[in-house]
Amino acid sequence: MNIFNIIKEIEKVDPEVYDRLDPRRAVFKHFAGFGKKLAAAAVPLAFGSVLNKAYGQSTSSIREVLEYALALENLEYYFYKQAAATNLFPTAAAKTAFETIRDHEEDHVAFLRSAITSLNSGAPTTYTQASFDYSAGGLLSDTFTNYGTMLAVAQAFEDTGVRAYKGAAPSLISNDAVLQAALQIHSVEARHAAHLRRMRRDAATGGVASNKPWITLKDRGGLPAAFQGIYDGEEVTTQAGVPITGTFGSVTITAEAASEAFDEPLTMAQVLAIVDPFIK
């Protein structure tokens, strides 16, 4: 399956998917600031509604978002299933960590499948090990034979997952139950990401000693350059028009700290481009 097949699948339930992925929507991102309070009476409510729909908020359907999440969770689950079965782990704790994460991804797959089923809009897509290519089309030659590579791919998937759920959350604002569940999965993915980053920081071999549990600027932490897209955009130091850097009391918040303090979203299109090499 490739990216266009994914979009074709989505198109079956959401005919407007191509419009929603239109990159021109990005122009509205710049209007997401917290401006000065003006007289609201001057703004026709209908126009506010148009703006709300248009700026920064994707209007993907609930089904579309859940299928998107399901594809990513399957990608992760089958990766950890294969990874946890290797004998590459230097310690029992490292193997246990992969098993813990694998089990969570399996739970996420089951949870998302039941959530999709409950929408009564057709059965959820089923994936198998054969759906995925963990060599990323030959880019990676030793995903399951080199501990360092295996850790790096795991970090890449988790950091991508965090950004994917973050980007999708606004599309779920109309459905409280699904939104909350997505946020509850999102923070678990972030816990996974932090632990894998810690494992890479502390690994005696195959690690990256400078790694941190959080993302500094757009540092890809020793991953191949092909993975830069996972971290591009993380380097921002302004949020909603507010500069995050500065000196507060005796503490100076550097660009590094400011970028670490806020994780950034990715759009569905950006995420699908990142994971496309891994999906047959």
């Binding site: 509850q184 816990r191 503490v251």
Partner: protein
Amino acid sequence: MAENLEPTPVDETENRINTPFNRRNFLKYTGVAMAATAVVLTTSCDDDDEDDMVVTDDSVNLGSGDVGILNYAYALEQLEAAFYTAVVALPNFNTLFPNATERASLTDIRNHEIAHREFFKKAITAAAASQIIPSLTPNLPASALASRESILATAKTFEDLGVAAYNGAGKLISAAGVAYLGIAGKIVSVEARHAAEIRDMISNGTFASGAAGVTAGNIVDENGLDVALTPMQVLALAQPFVKEKLNGSNLPTQ
């Protein structure tokens, strides 16, 4: 949930993106980006709640609507920032944490929490200066700062509580306040990264497993979901760490 705006008519939805340059010019000349904020703030005010934040008898009313949720987050970030500032400033910090990597992690977390606190302070001031809560007075028992174990236990409580608070607050943000949901999402995953690191410092491998601490049961449940708590649940757990009485009675509940 506060009132949602009217849904966009279908024909407008189809046309809204087709003329980006015209739209952009329109936005530029009408200053509608700022006005949009006013829509967000006013449409999310439910009815007859007082606009002004009220402090009486050392009680702090977080307010209502989306601004109330922002104040709620600001209150929690104030507590976290105060705690880590105190930890890193301890005269025996290097003795309690002889491992330089652990000291770096705690210092990073302090910086992140200060960044979050200052962000909310500026953002709420810009959006609704009359409704921002004041600086709170932390109430950190000496025992919380007495040992590596007690510091990490307190940190774990704060971080897991922060994650649960943001997870539970997302759905309380109005449809008009979707930009705030985006901001909350940017912060909560960093709090989750902190939570994982702190838990691993206590016991490696407990980043997303083991007892939740802030609630009964495990931090990640059988569906693979993290904890989500209501503001009332969170405020009850946070109250011991702040001298003022936190009043969240006007916050949205759905």
